[in-house]
């Protein structure tokens, strides 16, 4: 608690540093590689001294990888048989 208060005080006042809340605002752009160099540097400095944000980002990235791995369309085998009634309904409606 006291350590966190000291950290918060330092991050708010140290030149070139960002707070955890500001770090949060930059996460998406950092991962998309669209952060301007100056902001990227600040983001990476923050990560070096803030374990909570470092851990948060690692878990955030793992979440994205996990979602993509499990729900990726290409992974899933598709059924061989097609729903005949739906196929016929589409073909019948085509000429109307």
């Amino acid at each position: 608690m006291i350590m966190r208060r000291i950290k918060g005080f330092m991050l708010k006042r140290m030149h070139g540093m960002i707070t955890c809340r500001e770090f949060e605002d930059f996460v998406l752009s950092y991962l998309d590689d669209t952060l301007p160099p100056n902001q990227r540097k600040r983001f990476e400095w923050h990560m070096k001294i803030c374990r909570e944000c470092r851990d948060y980002l690692a878990a955030y990235q793992r979440t994205i990888e996990l979602g993509q791995s499990i729900l990726a369309a290409d992974d899933k085998p598709l059924p061989d048989d097609v729903p005949e009634d739906l196929v016929q309904a589409i073909l019948d409606a085509r000429g109307r």
Binding site: D55, P79, I90
Partner: protein
């Protein structure tokens, strides 16, 4: 969206009955799968695919061949599914604030210490965890889930997602980040290796 079905050979002119049937048969399974992922409802997915394929067959003459046929059909299916969600008012605003990161009065992150972060390989080995992830994604309100699916899973860019959903790119970015953060929170027991299997 790589392989080109043989039915594309008929493009550029009128499509005869045999070619139309071939196009439907070659694409219906993945289109149903896509629509079901977006709508989370098999019946609605069938309606959307029916509407999409009829619209595609009628508009095939307008298809310029600038993208792959599958990409074109993917876009039509996604658009039709989003329209369906809108009609059903399932993209209405819902709060996910309870799942978002929290900060103290000094803007410091409040995050429980991570003693371990389970590797992707380990997470993918367990069927229960796969189900847990799918359930976690479907727990998100549609207004967030759909952005996560379009951007992270279906492979649309931020600009394309914004266009499909008629939102600004900034709005898409904010919602995508919130959706990912909320999903992280929902999946934490699995990510921390604390899930009872």
């Amino acid at each position: 969206m790589a392989s080109e079905p043989s039915s594309q050979k008929t493009l550029g002119g009128l499509v005869d009955d045999a070619a139309a049937e071939l196009l439907v048969r070659e694409n219906i399974a993945w289109m149903l799968d896509l629509a079901e992922r977006l709508l989370r409802d098999r019946g609605l997915a069938e309606d959307v695919v029916q509407e999409s394929l009829i619209s595609a067959l009628r508009g095939l003459g307008d298809f310029k061949g600038e993208s792959a046929l599958k990409t074109w059909l993917h876009r039509i299916t996604t658009n039709t599914a989003i329209s369906k969600l809108r009609k059903l008012k399932r993209v209405a605003e819902e709060s996910i604030d309870d799942y978002l990161p929290v900060f103290d009065q000094n803007d410091c992150r409040l995050e429980l210490p991570w003693t371990q972060l389970v590797s992707l390989q380990e997470l993918l080995e367990t069927e229960e965890i796969r189900e847990h992830v799918a359930k976690g994604i479907s727990t998100l309100p549609d207004s967030y889930r759909i952005i996560l699916q379009l951007r992270d899973i279906e492979g649309y860019s931020t600009a394309e997602t914004a266009e499909l959903l008629e939102l600004s790119t900034d709005n898409v970015k904010v919602r995508l980040h919130r959706a990912r953060s909320a999903l992280k929170k929902l999946l934490e027991p699995a990510l921390r290796g604390e899930m009872q299997i």
